[in-house]
């Protein structure tokens, strides 16, 4: 049976683990460790390998949900994770010093995968920091020549994560009927 994957990526603390937890049918398998680098200033533990969740579909098929580790030194794993992926969910933390730089970094890193599939962007922590606005993100993306969905997302809220994933899938094929 084929392996179908949706990949969640983004910087440390953007909510990848939480987002996977929101829509997974199993308690997600986390590979967290106590943070020992700069990450420890943001949270006590962080993902060092990957997060993993599953969505069970009618008919027995499974969609595997993979979260990449946020730290750049683990980027060698990204190529392995994206193989066979349906599309990319990029989560950005709006309280970080320069979320646009984060966005550019991840869009550049996954450029080939995005060109072959698609990307949807979720901006988290907007209730803590309302700038940049969603419109500001669209302006930045316009300069990069792409127009993906960009939504405010609370990674803890299943509906937010669900809508973000739905927008990714409809971007792949607007003709899908649920």
């Amino acid at each position: 049976m084929s392996q179908y994957k949706i990949i969640f990526t983004g910087p440390v603390g953007a909510g990848k683990t939480t987002a996977i937890e929101s829509i997974s049918d199993i308690p997600p398998i986390k590979t967290d460790a106590s943070a020992s680098d700069m990450t420890k200033t943001k949270k006590a533990s962080t993902t060092v390998a990957m997060d993993y969740g599953i969505m069970n579909l009618a008919g027995g098929e499974k969609i595997h949900l993979y979260g990449t580790p946020g730290q750049e030194r683990f980027d060698f794993m990204w190529d392995i994770l994206i193989t066979g992926g349906i599309g990319l969910i990029l989560l950005l933390d709006n309280t970080r010093a320069d979320p646009f730089q984060d966005m550019k970094f991840f869009l550049d890193s996954f450029q080939k995968f995005i060109a072959e599939t698609n990307v949807a962007i979720g901006v988290t922590q907007m209730d803590l920091s309302n700038k940049p606005t969603i419109n500001d993100y669209h302006i930045q993306l316009q300069g990069m020549g792409i127009k993906p969905p960009v939504f405010s997302v609370d990674a803890r809220v299943k509906n937010d994560v669900s809508l973000l994933v739905q927008s990714l899938l409809y971007s792949l094929d607007p003709g899908i009927e649920a």
Binding site: M55, L57, A58, D98, N130, P148, F151, D160, Q166, L172
Partner: protein, 406 residues
């Protein structure tokens, strides 16, 4: 000099790009505890990057219009009177002293007349960058604390503003949206009549009032003879003393020539007790206009659009904070591929025209819809969409996600 204030000093930042703005927010919440960055409207103190392009204009404007203390950050020595000056690279002690002075002045209700600086005059941009880097490093270690502080702000208490989207299916549509008696918007022969002019409804007055408030950058009260509506242009909020049910009913009522001209727009006091006590009545401006347009449309499309010409979508709406009408995500995805006429969207997606019309009405109200003028856009209209090889799989994932929504 010590400022004895117990509440944080509310500061508005001006002339800073996104990165510097964010850095200063964190700096003020971290090393300079006791200060909080707020929207211009609610501020007690203005802080201006006096090296920015628009600094001169900003300073003149603030000096003329506002009695608030002003803190100016600059690499150059400033000689303005009535301004607290902090020389760049900004050091915590200097900034704390300026903040303390500003706090004292607020208490005493007087204007400043001196500089705050203990730094050599030959400061360079390089030093400024080093200072920023050091600051950034310190900031990250205090970020958790900052988030906890921020979590207690009024912003998070605006529950309506941050609530997740309501996703309507076809079954709920008519009950939620309503319909126009005697008009079948899904009958192609009646398409020419399936139009509405937002200006004839409350929607038009709200949109007009929003433009005025944003242009003037002033809190405004729309007096409609109905419920009080107050516009906060600085943080894109609308405050309405009515629930959705009441708004939905009022949205559908055409304003006649008598009630329409009776509407007035006047400056409002944002600190009014009734507003401060009703944080749950705040709405995000875009989410408010979107749902107002949905309820005004009732499945019709705006009269300004030519149904025979293709429309395009400038970018995806922020769906997680909007009322999601049936097939809205599919329509968005389709329009992001290429412009299409409204009937063609319905035909290609095999959906009722009313779902297209209502989505287009809402997106048009937010300025997201444009109409093509180039002939090329009409000539090269693809009549079918490319079907994904995984359509069945994608469909089942969507079905699963929609079934599981919380």
């Amino acid at each position: 000099m010590k400022d004895e204030r117990k509440s944080p000093l509310k500061i508005a930042l001006h002339g800073m790009d996104g990165r510097n703005y964010k850095m200063m927010v964190m700096y003020l919440q971290g090393p300079c505890k006791g200060a909080a960055v707020v929207e211009d409207l609610n501020a007690e103190v203005d802080m201006i990057d006096a090296d920015s392009v628009q600094a001169k204009k900003l300073l003149e404007q603030k000096l003329a219009e506002s009695a608030r203390p002003i803190i100016a950050l600059s690499l150059q020595e400033l000689t303005f009177e009535n301004i607290l000056y902090v020389k760049k690279p900004v050091k915590t002690d200097d900034l704390l002293f300026a903040l303390s002075e500003a706090g004292t002045m607020l208490s005493a209700k007087k204007k400043p007349s001196h500089q705050v600086s203990s730094y050599p005059e030959n400061a360079t941009t390089r030093q400024s960058q080093e200072s920023i880097d050091q600051t950034e490093s310190r900031l990250s270690s205090e970020k958790n604390q900052v988030k906890k502080q921020a979590a207690n702000t009024n912003e998070q208490k605006k529950t309506s503003k941050h609530q997740t989207a309501m996703q309507l299916d076809e079954g709920k549509f008519n009950a939620y949206i309503g319909s126009v008696p005697g008009l079948d918007v899904n009958d192609p022969k009646q398409f020419p009549d399936a139009v509405y002019n937002p200006k004839d409804y409350f929607q038009g007055y709200v949109q007009s009032a929003l433009m005025v408030a944003e242009t003037k950058k002033q809190v405004m009260h729309l007096n409609s003879g109905w419920k009080p509506l107050i516009i906060f242009p600085h943080n894109h909020d609308i405050w309405l003393d009515a629930d959705d049910k009441q708004l939905r009913a009022f949205a559908g009522v055409a304003m006649n020539k008598i009630s329409g001209p009776g509407m007035t727009l006047t400056p409002a006091d944002p600190s009014a007790t009734s507003i401060q006590g009703g944080l749950e009545k705040f709405h995000d401006k875009d989410a408010f206009v979107w749902k107002l347009a949905v309820w005004t449309s009732k499945g019709r499309y705006p009269s300004a659009l030519d149904i025979h010409r293709p429309v395009f979508l400038r970018h995806w709406p922020n769906f997680t904070r909007l009322v999601i009408t049936p097939h809205a995500l599919r329509i968005s995805a389709l329009l992001m591929e290429s412009p299409r006429t409204l009937p063609e969207i319905a035909q290609v997606l095999n959906i009722k025209p009313q779902y297209v019309f209502v989505f287009i009405s809402a997106a048009y109200a937010l300025g997201l819809i444009g109409q093509t003028k180039r002939e090329a856009d009409e000539i090269f209209q693809p009549s079918v969409i490319k079907k994904s090889e995984q359509q069945s799989l994608l469909s089942r994932i969507i079905g699963k996600l929609r079934a599981n929504k919380s």
